[in-house]
């Protein structure tokens, strides 16, 4: 895009000179500032509340700043119900989901994009038709199915189904489709196997989109609390989110300042992820929007 054209949006430099336009524009910017404060307030207040003394959280009217910073709340939050144990479960689930979706979805996407497949259209339909069926319409049979497969209370109940995701398959396949076929053909002439083509050529060339896939997988497995609490009936198998939902939020014996400290711990990883992988997140979300 040329700079001279990119400089303008809906408004042109000429518009900025009109008082009414300028007034409305300023008003709308004020609105954005208010919205920004409204998005920030819950974050900051959560952090500040986690550093308050026990009684301070429920002082009315609400006080924004704590009197003294009580870092000890975090030590208490950490000790409470072995958060570390649940965090380990979550890490286990996230790592497994990432590995399984990367390999299984990646191989299938590679096959659909670059290998000889009979009746390719039928296979594609087989995968994509699942997008038409909203998940909560089959949540009950899904649960019963995992039960009859004997997967309840095992991590396999997360790992294997995480690869059954048509969205992610679509995402990776369309990216693989942009890699030139000649690359693989010359590798094959040099005697490379298809597995080698996949791991040595397709995967390294697709790092950005694979990171997008990993981010999606991370955020859904980090956030999910309801489904894990159904399929993990043994509570020591709960991921962190389910454990916090079950033991921390409704609990009357835990003080709210400590609760807020737990919430902050829950918030940190997604925020860090966002800060480090920002461009991949936005990229994944509007993969087609920019192109189309």
């Amino acid at each position: 895009m040329k700079k001279s054209i990119a400089e303008r949006g809906i408004l042109s430099p000429y518009d900025y000179k009109k008082p009414t336009v300028l007034a409305v524009y300023a008003l709308l910017i004020l609105l954005v500032v208010i919205a920004a404060l409204f998005t920030l307030y819950p974050y900051t207040v959560t952090i500040l509340n986690s550093l308050k003394a026990r009684e301070e959280v429920f002082v009315f009217p609400v006080q924004y700043w704590p009197h003294h910073l009580k870092w000890h709340n975090y030590a208490e939050a950490w000790k409470f119900l072995q958060l570390w144990h649940y965090l380990k479960n979550t890490i286990f689930i996230v790592a497994g989901n990432m590995a399984f979706s990367l390999v299984i979805i990646g191989l299938a996407a590679f096959s659909l994009a670059h290998l000889e497949v009979p009746k390719r259209r039928w296979f594609t339909m087989f995968f994509m038709l699942t997008l038409l069926i909203p998940p909560s319409t089959y949540i009950i049979p899904n649960f019963l199915n995992l039960k009859s497969l004997g997967l309840l209370n095992t991590f396999w109940a997360f790992w294997l189904p995480s690869a059954a995701n048509a969205f992610n398959l679509l995402l990776i396949r369309s990216f693989f489709g942009t890699i030139h076929k000649e690359l693989f053909e010359s590798a094959r002439l040099d005697g490379a196997s298809e597995l080698r083509c996949f791991f040595r050529i397709a995967v390294p060339l697709s790092v950005p989109v694979l990171i997008t896939l990993l981010i999606f997988t991370f955020s859904s497995s980090w956030n999910d609390w309801f489904w894990p609490s159904l399929i993990m009936q043994k509570e020591n198998m709960y991921p962190l989110a389910s454990a916090v939902y079950k033991y921390v939020i409704p609990s009357r014996s835990i003080d709210w300042n400590v609760k807020f400290a737990v919430l902050v711990l829950l918030l940190i990883p997604p925020v860090l992820f966002f800060v480090f992988f920002q461009k991949y997140i936005v990229r994944g979300m509007n993969l087609g929007a920019v192109k189309g």
Partner: protein, 290 residues
Amino acid sequence: MAKWIKKYRWGLLFLLPEIAVFLLFLWVPIVRGIVYSFEKVDFVAGIQFVGLDNYRDILSRSEILQSVRNSLYYMVLCVLIGFWVPCLFAVIVSELRRFQGFARSLLYFPTLVPSVALYGMWLWFYDSVGPFNSFLASLGLDKIPFLTDTHWAMPSIVLMETWQQFGGAFIIYIAGMAGIPRDLYEAAEIDGAGVWQRIRHITLPGIRHLLVLMFIMQLIATSQAYQSQQAITDGGPVNATLTYGLMIIREAFTNLNYGTASAMGVLMLIVLGGLSVLYMRLDKDGVISR
């Protein structure tokens, strides 16, 4: 035959694991759900075919009407409170000449909050001595029982979810607007179109496709909602937030009527199936991946 195998073996081999997991964890449950809806599912006494009994049973409940009404009410509120917000902010933020990237990230931030943390935070915000009521008191207004009043419970949940979720749609609209050619604005301005006219006749039509898609997607998503209602108000007070989705969950995991719960899922599938097909037809090139 040998030639056929030689030609296709790698393609099929690479597809095999994916076919297996799709079959095992998507298609089998989907088909089984339909089968279960005609059965009395009891793992101790055995499964029994009962014809349409499950459907009759559900439709005769008094709660069903209320849950459908609650779900519809929730959907309407989500459109009224939530649908236009991301679009409005996308228009404004895309016009920012400075700090645009900063504003974008900032408004996207709530989307990062995990649901459980969201519930914890907002339970306190809505508390009778929380910040909202504190603010009302400072204006000299009465306190509002946000989550314990039948009229306030659902709007309170929608406000909370709008806060968390509008960032996703916001970013999608921003990207869509970036694709509108600048010279259209230039040409319209030369022809004497005012700012509002440019927005109305260029910007909005430019993202019309996205707006329609997001609207349908929102309908599909909100009609299934149950998690916040379960977590924040547990369907109450007095069933005011008992959505259809939540009723399915209760029917299965509280009442252990898996058959009737599956039948409710099938009924929902029939209603939403049409919307999904419409969505897929409009979203042929996968404009919105998520």
